[in-house]
Subunit: 392 residues, 2 copies
């Protein structure tokens, strides 16, 4: 009798927001970057992808359901991940014939985000990290997170950093086959646990250019980009590692803001120019500058990915000075009603940012309060039942 078992494994995986940005591929097929990058993994209580991977002879083909919508998985990126994982499983099976031949079974994967995908919140990083981690668990692969990060990287570059919690570097590597382009832990979340992040979600607006297309336009046309990848980022990477190791927030903040600005400068230097920051983003910059000026030291650091949302990093002890000022401006928006938001004391914004405050109010639709968090976490909460049906 044929084995009709539904093999399952489930994981939660986090979002990460880079403080030294990934922008540009030296090999678009293998997702090999033009420079190393460094990120903070964010807490999964606020932002996470929950994925159940299953395989069974009951299934006909590989399928992926994301937030209840069937996804096309025939693309080269998803296929690269699936075939790498199957091939690792196949090796296990051939060395131990007692193992069930899971590598031959169709996969059914069900994935759900606890945050709106449309908000432009690095959902593909969490998505591919969860996909790779859950299938690796399903296959009981002994593969290290570093090696899994190489697989996730092929799905979405920044996904490799979501295989770890805390402070994570993606080492660009130099090998043509990508074998040394992987994520490593710079420090666990417990090393510097009081790092907070306030995300200002911009009102929905069509993205200027997808990051995949945009970064290769920059590589091809920006005259300033070479300086960034060859000279500027390598130095920032080593300074940022030291800042994290020494828990030196002022240096962390300065490097984070400079690198975000330098990345968007290269976008602007692209032909045609790419704009991700809008008037609300620039207003967030001005408020952070004013908050830092008022404090007389850097207590807050903004960073912007390929979109207008601001992520503002700060330490728990400076919550009032940072999140408090933003609550003073944006207190009527969604996102403050949870446990973390309720406790924030509203502060008055510095007078000189009156115009910026008005622009923030117009351009920001909600906030998310979060902080540094753990890497992927295995869970018994299954999105697929024992019969292979999606749990509603």
């Amino acid at each position: 009798m044929a084995d009709t078992t539904v093999y399952r494994s489930s994981t939660f995986a986090p979002v990460n927001i880079a403080v030294i940005k990934y922008w540009g591929k030296r090999d678009p097929k293998l997702n090999l970057p033009t420079n190393s990058s460094l990120s903070v993994t964010l807490s999964q209580s606020d932002l996470r992808t929950h994925t159940t991977a299953s395989c069974s002879s009951l299934y006909e083909t590989d399928t992926l359901l994301l937030n209840d919508s069937p996804q096309d998985i025939s693309g080269a990126r998803t296929q690269a991940c699936l075939s790498s994982l199957r091939s690792l499983r196949r090796s296990l099976e051939s060395s131990d014939p007692s193992l069930p031949a899971l590598s031959t079974l169709p996969l059914k994967i069900v994935s759900r985000n606890n945050f709106p995908t449309a908000a432009g919140l690095a959902s593909s990083a969490a998505g591919f990290a969860a996909l790779v981690r859950s299938i690796a668990d399903l296959y009981r692969l002994p593969t290290s997170p570093m090696d899994l990060s190489k697989i996730a990287r092929q799905g979405s570059g920044s996904a490799c950093r979501s295989l770890f919690g805390g402070y994570v570097a993606w080492e660009m590597g130099s090998a043509d086959d990508g074998s040394d382009s992987l994520a490593v832990e710079v420090a666990p979340a417990s090393h510097w646990p009081d790092m907070r992040a306030l995300i200002l979600v911009a009102s929905a607006e069509k993205k200027d250019v997808s990051s995949t297309a945009g970064m290769q336009q920059t590589v091809a046309t920006s005259t300033l980009f070479k300086e960034r990848v060859e000279m500027v980022v390598p130095q920032r990477m080593s300074e940022m590692r030291r800042a994290v190791e020494e828990k030196d927030f002022e240096t962390f903040a300065s490097l984070t803001m400079r690198d975000s600005n330098g990345f968007h400068a290269c976008c602007l230097d692209t032909e045609p120019p790419i704009f991700y920051m809008n008037d609300a983003s620039r207003a967030a910059v001005r408020v952070v500058d004013a908050v830092n000026d008022k404090a007389g030291r850097k207590v807050a650091a903004y960073t912007f990915d390929a979109g207008p949302n601001a992520v503002v990093y700060y330490l728990e002890k400076d919550e009032e000075a940072v999140a408090g000022v933003f609550k003073g401006i944006l207190g009527d928006k969604e996102g403050w009603e949870g446990e973390k938001g309720k406790g924030v004391q509203e502060m008055e914004a510095p007078k000189e940012v009156e115009i910026a405050a008005a622009k923030l109010k117009m351009g920001i639709s909600r906030v998310i309060l979060t902080g540094v968090g753990e890497g992927p976490i295995k869970t018994d909460e299954m999105l697929i039942d024992e019969k292979g049906e999606t749990v509603v």
Copy 2:
């Protein structure tokens, strides 16, 4: 009996808008730039400063009236111009004692712009060019426009380019004393007379950072700036000269847009970042991109100085495709009612720029239609009468 003659001379001087931008000083005192720049002088029928310089023993001290407001002329920049001109006059007087000793007389200077100073339209360039040219005429200096440009440069860097009409380069020079940092004519207006410029004046908003302060912050902090001044601009300068000489609008347009974006990229890469472009500026970029896409060639080129105003260059033959589309979007704003604007046929904007068109409508308050024009022009229209009184 003492000579109480009021000696007078009057000039009109033009605005210029750079297509290869000046940003950064290697010597802030002498206004020596970190890179050469190239500009188009704009027609004085639309934008000009009218200045009358006079000197007389009737006056007590040097004075300057701009748009009927007394100006402080004790600043180092104005003083550098006045003392250079006086010293040249003194030399003339000592070699020919029959000349009246104008160099010893107090100066009264009256200046008026035919456009709102507040609009952020490079008024200091026209202002210092008119100041220097009118005093040089008053003193009957045999000095060449190139030599006068060195004097005007000390007042306001970009003013040196307003000593010439047409297409003008400011050669950065290499001498420590600034003796080879001057403006030269690349081509007269008559060489390529069909160059038009549509200026989109952004709704009044406080400027982010003055260009004087901003450019030195960029020099001090931008990590990408060195590449711009050492590698990028020198190559663009030689390509731009060739484009002007060959009347190659497509190359002119491509270089103009890239250099504007590269300059603003360096502003963004400054710590703290400097933003001059706003959402309306970016909307203008998108409309120009769409106009070029639709034409299948570059018929329009945007450029932005240290503010949100867009200047869009195009050739007369493409008026409908360029100015027509902007009139279709901004037809209800001030500025189309004149002779040049009335004749422009309103065109429908490409569908894909619907959002950009809406942002332009919100952010632009008026337009100015102009084109390439002549350098300073001597005039008999005096703003000071024979008795030394200001003409109202």
